[in-house]
């Protein structure tokens, strides 16, 4: 049953050291505010799951929150590398990062299997690929009817899934639209779920067959306008491509990164204050 609460309380109560945490959002609706709060509260030893780690996981990995990453594409979309992810994988900085690597179709299927309470998913992939050689979570099974060989991967069942959505009503029913990604599956696969939303309204006024997560599938709902920044929220604001590009220079250097994290996240109280500090530092640069 969804509790409508502050983001600080939600993260404090529901994200624990050592948890398997999935923050999802496929370019759209990436839960940056929630990710920052996890970083601000300095969670440790997390196993982070995400199809596209993006800048949000670059920040968490660089800040030393993660011991393991389960992913399928780790880049800064439209810009280049995630330097903190690379530094962790290539040079164990700030700590060794175990990686478990899949393809998108595989991880998407693994979330579906998790949401479906199945222990594994079956898909056509990986014949001839080197990925199974480096990931013992990819196996091959035979169809009991045709004998065909198919890939099998274990389902993903996060301890907690965190997503950002457009709207909630006052009961905590969640409505999202546009690029849906794997958010619904990630929530339904998880033991606990936190959703930040752009706004909380009296009535969702949803259209037929809208993508809705009922309040009883959600642990906590937090109103955080702009909580998807610098990604975007369809119908609310666009992606801040400049932030993504600027991140490249911030993340490239360990020292620059650490100062940025301290000033923008550790030394701020919440996402609103982060936005203010960021606005100040951007205006100083230009």
């Amino acid at each position: 049953m969804a509790e409508i609460t502050t983001l600080r309380e939600a993260i404090a109560g529901l994200v624990r050291d050592g948890d398997v945490v999935a923050m999802e959002g496929f370019t759209h609706l990436i839960p940056f505010a929630a990710g920052h709060e996890v970083l601000r509260q300095q969670r440790r030893n997390l196993t982070l799951v995400r199809m596209t780690p993006d800048v949000i996981y670059d920040q968490l990995i660089g800040a030393g929150c993660a011991k393991k990453l389960i992913f399928s594409w780790g880049g800064n979309p439209g810009v280049g590398s995630l330097h903190r992810l690379r530094d962790a994988v290539e040079h164990d900085w700030p700590a060794p990062l175990e990686i478990q690597e899949h393809g998108h179709g595989d991880l998407a299927n693994a979330y579906v299997a998790g949401a479906s309470n199945l222990p594994f998913a079956v898909l056509r992939a990986y014949a001839g690929s080197d990925l199974p050689k480096h990931n013992d979570k990819i196996k091959f099974i035979q169809c009991p009817f045709t004998g065909e060989s198919l890939a099998a991967v274990p389902s993903i069942r996060p301890d907690v899934t965190v997503i950002h959505a457009q709207k909630s009503d006052r009961k905590g029913n969640i409505l999202l639209w546009g690029i849906l990604g794997v958010q619904k599956e990630a929530v339904l696969a998880a033991k606990r779920a936190i959703v930040t939303v752009e706004e909380i309204v009296d009535e969702l006024n949803a259209w037929p067959n809208a993508c809705i997560l009922p309040h009883w599938t959600i642990s906590a709902v937090c109103r955080v306008p702009g909580g998807g920044f610098p990604s975007y929220a369809h119908g609310y604001y666009e992606r801040d491509n400049r932030f993504y590009q600027a991140w490249d220079a911030v993340a490239r250097d360990r020292d620059t990164f650490q100062k940025w994290i301290k000033a923008h996240i550790l030394d701020t109280d919440n996402f609103e204050e982060f936005r203010q500090v960021l606005a100040e530092s951007v205006s100083q640069e230009t």
Binding site: F26, T27, H28, M51, T52, F71, S72, W73, G74, G75, P77, G78, V79, G80, S81, L82, L85, R86, V89, E90, E101, H102, G103, H104, G105, D106, A108, N109, Y111, V112, L123, R124, A125, Y126, A127, G128, S129, D130, L131, H134, E148, S149, G178, I179, L180, G181, V182, K184, E185, C211, Y232, H234, E238, R239, N241, R242, Y244, Q245
Partner: protein, 261 residues
């Protein structure tokens, strides 16, 4: 139009775009493939169907997406489904005619590496990883690859096979029961290559205007084969160039001078 009147990037994009038939259902990777696919849509293939792995089906973006899930893709699509559905019903389901991909490294059988340069455990350069490519490489009806040619990218042996082309050639795909035909063309800034019908080894079949076989040999680590009769890529038409440049101009304006990687 003379070879100096367009860039090597432009002719690569235009040559790739020309390979897409009107009405084809294309599963489009971000960057070069997306640019070429949209150029095709805005020129000779208005009814091409563009699917992006984030969920849009039938996207008709007015500017090039910077990321695989830009809002403009959703706004212009016939519908947007979940990412699992895209991979399950549409790609794996066999509904995609052409998978349109790029790569960091490629070998003579058009296998591709987007994972790591060097050793997997002790990487020299860690690349972004697989994304949707392994499933596209397996399941799309056919695959077209577009990437710049260089000896570092066109290598004798991949450090890591992320997504399969023709494996070790011949009927290897059929033996592994892969649903799609695999790569049918590789378009670079220098030429067009196609797999030999029997061996499946990539063979240069078409040179871009003004490009020599020697340039291609230098930009290929393995001993590249050439077809006995080489064609020359038709020069970009005025319309093709205008539409491509206009698209890129709109994109730069909208994205604040950023360009798709």
């Amino acid at each position: 139009m003379t070879p100096s009147a367009y860039t090597t990037n432009e002719i690569m994009t235009i040559a790739a775009a020309r390979l897409l038939k009107n009405g084809a259902v294309c599963f489009v990777g971000i960057g070069l493939p997306s640019t070429a696919a949209n150029l095709a849509r805005l020129t000779h293939a208005p009814d091409i169907v563009l699917i992006y792995e984030s969920g849009p089906i039938g996207a008709k973006p007015s500017i090039l997406p910077l990321s695989i899930g830009d809002g403009n893709l959703a706004e212009t699509a016939d519908t947007v489904v979940s990412t699992p559905e895209i991979f399950r019903y549409w790609l794996q389901g066999g509904r995609v005619d052409v998978g349109f991909l790029s790569a960091a490294q490629i070998d003579r059988f058009a296998n591709i590496n987007t994972t790591v340069i060097g050793d997997y455990k002790k990487p020299g350069t860690r690349l972004p990883g697989a994304g949707g490519a392994p499933e596209i490489a397996s399941c799309a009806g056919q695959v077209v690859l577009v990437l710049k040619q260089s000896a570092r990218g066109f290598v004798k042996k991949l450090d890591f096979v992320t997504s399969v082309g023709h494996l070790d050639g011949g009927d290897a795909r059929r033996r592994l029961n892969l649903p799609g035909k695999g790569p049918v063309a590789v378009v670079t800034d220098l030429c067009l290559m196609e797999p030999d019908p029997a061996t499946k080894e990539l063979t240069v079949t078409q040179l871009h205007p003004g490009i020599s076989a020697e340039q291609i040999r230098k930009a290929t680590e393995w001993e590249i084969r050439f077809a006995p009769e080489l064609k020359e890529t038709l020069l970009p038409t005025k319309t093709e160039l205008e539409i491509l440049r206009d698209l890129e101009r709109r994109t730069r304006l909208a994205h604040g001078n950023l360009t798709a990687a």
